[in-house]
Amino acid sequence: MDKDLTKIKRDLKKLLQSQPLAVLATQNRGQPYASLVAFASSDDLKSLYFATTRSTRKYANLSGDSRVAVLVDNRSNKASDFRWAMAATATGKAKEVGPVERKSVLDLYLAKHPHLKDFVHSPTCALCEIRVQTFFVVTRFQSVMEVHVRR
């Protein structure tokens, strides 16, 4: 299992680094809501980061319930995806990044999305962190492994 964990973490890291966008799921009084976000991941895989303006529906949802799910995948929308594609659903809680970490998170985030510099520096934009509890990693269409993060 240790070997498997090392491998799956390596694959997971590759996936998170290769994909610029993820689907973020939030909810408002039981109504699920999915949106596309540009994200970055911490080197230890324990955190995901995204930026959103404070006027968005997802931001409002997060204010009411910080629990989220995020889907990242590398599909090519072809039948061969059933063999090759990997999808990871991360569950966890989101919060706005505090002033202490802001600088380092910004560096990390903009290294991946340099074109979003103006966007994240806007005073109306919130930089958020998702502290991941579990990754649900799907390969070969139906093979599912859970990677639990211990804190």
Partner: protein
Amino acid sequence: MKLALSLNGITRKDRSRIGGKGFALAMMQKSGMHVPEALCITTEAYQEYVSSTGLRDQMHMELYRKPFEEMRWEEIWDTALRIRNMFIKTPLPSELRKQLRAPLASRFSRRPVSVRSSAPGEDSSKTSFAGLHESFVNIQGLESILEHIRLVWASLWSDRALLYRQELGLDVEKSTMAVVVQEMIFGERSGVVFGMSPVHEKQSAVEAVYGLNQGLVDGTVEPDRWILDRHSGQILSHRPARREKILVPAPKGVRLENLQGTLRRRAPLRDREVKEVYDLAMKAESLFGSPQDAEWTYFKETLHALQARPITTRSASSEDQRPWYLSLHRSFDNLRGLRTKIEKELIPGMETVAREMGIVNLPALSDSVLAQEIGQRSRIHKEWQETYRRDCIPFAHGMRLFGKIYNDLMKPKDPFQFVSLLAGSGMVSVRRNQMLVDLAELIRKDPSNKACILEGKGDDCKPEVKKGLKRVLDQFGDLAWEKGRLGEDRDRLLKLVLQMASHPERETSARAGDPGELEKVFLSRFDEEQKSYALELLDLARASYRLRDDDNIYLDKIQGQVLAAVEEGRRRIQERSTPESKTMEIDDLLKAVQSEAPVHKPDQKAQQPAKKQSFSLKSRQILGQPAGPGMAVGKARVVLGSSELFSFQKGEILVCDAVDPGMTFVVPLASAIVERRGGMLIHGAIIAREYGIPCVTGVPDAVNQIKTGDFITVDGHLGIVIIGEATL
């Protein structure tokens, strides 16, 4: 673009579109050799078919659901059968059909043909893998020809091809198949010629039989064999065959018949003809630039070349198991012979051996005699294991052969529908289980038995219960699996039966479809002349299905006797206080015997929680093979040894590395079976079908990924095991 090319229209640039076989025929014809008229269906036809029907996408799903490295040959065979069924079920799109039908109709609407595979690259001198793909002889009628073209396409993904996937470079996106539709020449004498003998490079070899050479190629008819000097063509030796059989054309395909007396005494070729066949190989060699292996036939005294390909020697390392798997494909006649041997010779032999061992009074033996006894039993067991591998395992192909023929005829939606015609044929393990269920019924009738069993006082049970238990133990007490025997502990066995008693009996027939009705429909597809063949085939398949389990049971009985002697030895060692006493002999033997039995140990590390890690890994959904339809949820019981087996609770799911029929006495209590070893036709799957419970086989590392007590869901329709509840 033309999808069908006649031989005289083929040029060098067409080679990759028509495959090696078609190209060789065209070249031979051009050089003036007698070659049957043929039409080459190009690889574009295959591409068009798998693209426009969506088959290519389906193949992605089927072929890659599990990594090949994790699949046993049986699973690969199952996969190939599913893919073959997809091709059988998917008709040609009308445009493609039109394009193929017209050229075929103008040549072969009334003439019988052979439909042969011609994979590009297959016949290049680097990778020659004769026999990995299918060819069909004596096919008549346009519809049948079109159908067989699809079967040849499907054989691009045969189990044999999948075993050699790396050498062939098999890839759903890229691999393709051409087909040669060739006028059938019903030669009176046929054979093969090797321009260069595979075993001696200065020699050539000619093999010949009476009738069609399919019989030679698949090994059912023994050929005469000539060795020639490769350079001069002089005959060096002739080894006559025992000429007994001949393969002749039959209304649908071919038939094996007895060779008539006068021909039995005469070699199929005269020396002059042997030389003529040799010359054919040499001509082909000069045409293609490398030594060739060619199939030929004499029709009305004229020699025809049927195909030619470069000779390659496959260097088989002793570790390569694949030739053994290829050898498991047996013909109907071969299987018939095996069945007689197993039923008349091997099973009675195993029974006798086990019975004779059972008579020996082990406690009365001196230490040294017991040591000898252990050694001898273990030797005898090993010999029988060899016999089992040699004769019993190949006989399991009987049900596979039936499955293939059934699917060709019936085109069922479920490629494994044929199994329901085979189930319920009175397996020994089911008879044993019924005896246990009957015993449970006796216990249920009188509650006083329950108290006795719970207190471990089996002797105080009612006389009829004791009698019932004795009956079971007399017949099956010595039945063993890797780790123990059914009768090793009476009290534990009684407690297990008590489990059965505390729950009402389950109906054992939840099988899909009505086997009687299916059988009727199947038989109705044969005309009167072929009915007896169909019945014999079905009977053979049922025997194959039943014996797959039964012969193991008899082998397990011998193993049980080995274990009984080992137990006696172990008991004596434990009684001794000084280790240097003269039990050493037994001790050594025990070690030797035990180290020979491969025992699956659970991965200890996996069971310990990884404390220091800041991540932990858990399987949620594991993919295996759907080996028994249905769905069940319940607690897992991971069976590693006797104790887990005897403490099996009603409704639990049996999770196992490899199910052995010696263990399946708990199946009446189980709500599903999960097994690491993969396949649709293995013990776990067979017994699950008998009881109509879901079964998933081929679950990688099942006994480590799943823990006893885990709440699991077994989806036997899709071959999935889900661990844990649905909530996050």
